[in-house]
Amino acid sequence: MTPEQAARSARMLLTGVIGSDTHIVGNRVLSLALEKAGYRVASLGALTPAREFIEGAIETAADAILVSSLYGQGELDCRGFRDLCVEAGIDEILLYVGGNLVVGKQPWPDVERRFLDMGFDRAFPPGTRPEDVIAALDRDFAARAAGARIALP
């Protein structure tokens, strides 16, 4: 195990596809890549209501929740996600979201802004590679260890 992987093995990540969305393949690929990188991963799979992400994060003491949405309804499904975390007492948890988050062709910076405003720490556009997510996680966890909320760009 590399020192990098050892550091990652202390972190638990929770993944899943939110809402009435059955697109599981991308989420599986991401979960496997995260595990291979050394992170501990609990996967909720497809068709997961927001509430179950929160509950799962409590039981597993997850350090981050990675929400996938591929069917264009992510904006509706993810509304209030951070508020749910605050209610459940895990307000500090790192929240990522990614996929085909909205319907139609909308400029990415607008979409990203909307999800950041909802309380997600990072939003990822379609076509994001697992290594980009791993790099972001590494940087954010390092920033958190140093007392920041997330790593600055």
Partner: protein, 477 residues
Amino acid sequence: MTNSGSLALLIDFGSTFTKLRAVDLDAGRIVGSSQGPSTVTSDVTLGLKAALDDLARKLGGLPCFRHRLASSSAAGGLRMVTVGLVKDLTAEAARRAALGAGAKLVGTFAYRLTRSDIEAILGLRPDILLLCGGTDGGNAEVILQNATMLSASELACPIVLAGNRTAVEEAEDRFAATGKEVRVADNVMPELNLLNIDPARSAIRHVFMERIVHAKGIDRAAAMFDAVLMPTPAAVLEGARLLARGTAKRPGLGDLIVVDVGGATTDVHSICTGAPARPDILLHGLPEPFAKRTVEGDLGMRHNAAAIAEVATLSAIAATAGLSEPRVTALLRALAADVERVPATLEEAMLDQALASAAIGLAVRRHAGTVETVYTATGPRVMQRGKDLSGVTTLIGTGGPLVHAADPLPILKAALSDPAEPQSLRPAQPRILIDRGYVLYAVGLLAEREPEVAMALATSHLHSIARSFTGGSSTAA
């Protein structure tokens, strides 16, 4: 009885009666049944002696038994409180473990225990407390805090710890520091949405055998039996499990459910995976135990007959019973005042049948899984929660109202699926058996030591009242 050593004595220390079944181990048949009063609250030996005298009269003397095994639901049953973290996750897993161990669940708690929760737990006087919380390597804080709260309390009962393995040792130390008795078992949920209740169930059973039997005073009669193996509901579950799976020599009956209608509760046991019938059905929620027991505390034929009528609606009960609503109300009031009452008139028998039928329908509906259609971007998909019992091939009924009914078939039909309610995954066309002689607990008690005899016992004493029910016709065995 000259062939000493070829018989087994199976004892059930019940809440009303001490029941005995003498089983011929060579023939796999019951050769004598008897009962005495339940005397656990005074001196357990009195009721057992009365039952043994009764048996001796029937057998012409008492033989030397090869096994003398007992189960108990006396003195309030095995009263358990469960504590978990998230209500639908480890708290639910803990609940299932306790029910599967044959416990009478008197309280379930989740998240951090408060001072008033601790007060409530003390007031519930549990025999065992099951403390869970966190997946392995997951949340440790809550189970540790709960352990601290409980260890500092006046709680005197043994504790079974089956939570996050990285926190369990520390929790154990906290209990040990205040002199509490603890037994550790593997986590009921080692990974998110992975259910692992058998180790906790077996720990509960050990505590039951080693401690609770003594605490309830049942071991005063220890010279008269070899062991009290488990709570009676666990014996029924074990009996059902053996019957479903079979033995080395005899094939089992396959997927089955047992419905037990009682005075205080209606219990349902299912032995099957309950997996979706088609590969395109998505399974959602916590995985289900292969041997699952649920207890409906609001569906008892005597202690809460009015509650059954309330849930099933008075008009439905009246219609089934063929009585007027005011008459049903009057009869229910009489039942509430006299919970030991056995139906004496035709009216009372009709009402009992209607209540039993409603209780069975509701209890099996709650036990069975459901399906719903979810509309996704790629079209509609069927999502299943809980166990699919539609393919269950055997339904076994037991309990007073079924055993004493002139025709139990119409009552038990309430357990079956209804085309008007396709979302409820109840059995569709099972063969229907009835356990008239209360042999299932005896089968469960014998299952470990004499599986072949236990299997023979079950097959020879369960009566078929309908072979693959197809709508109306009943076939006697």
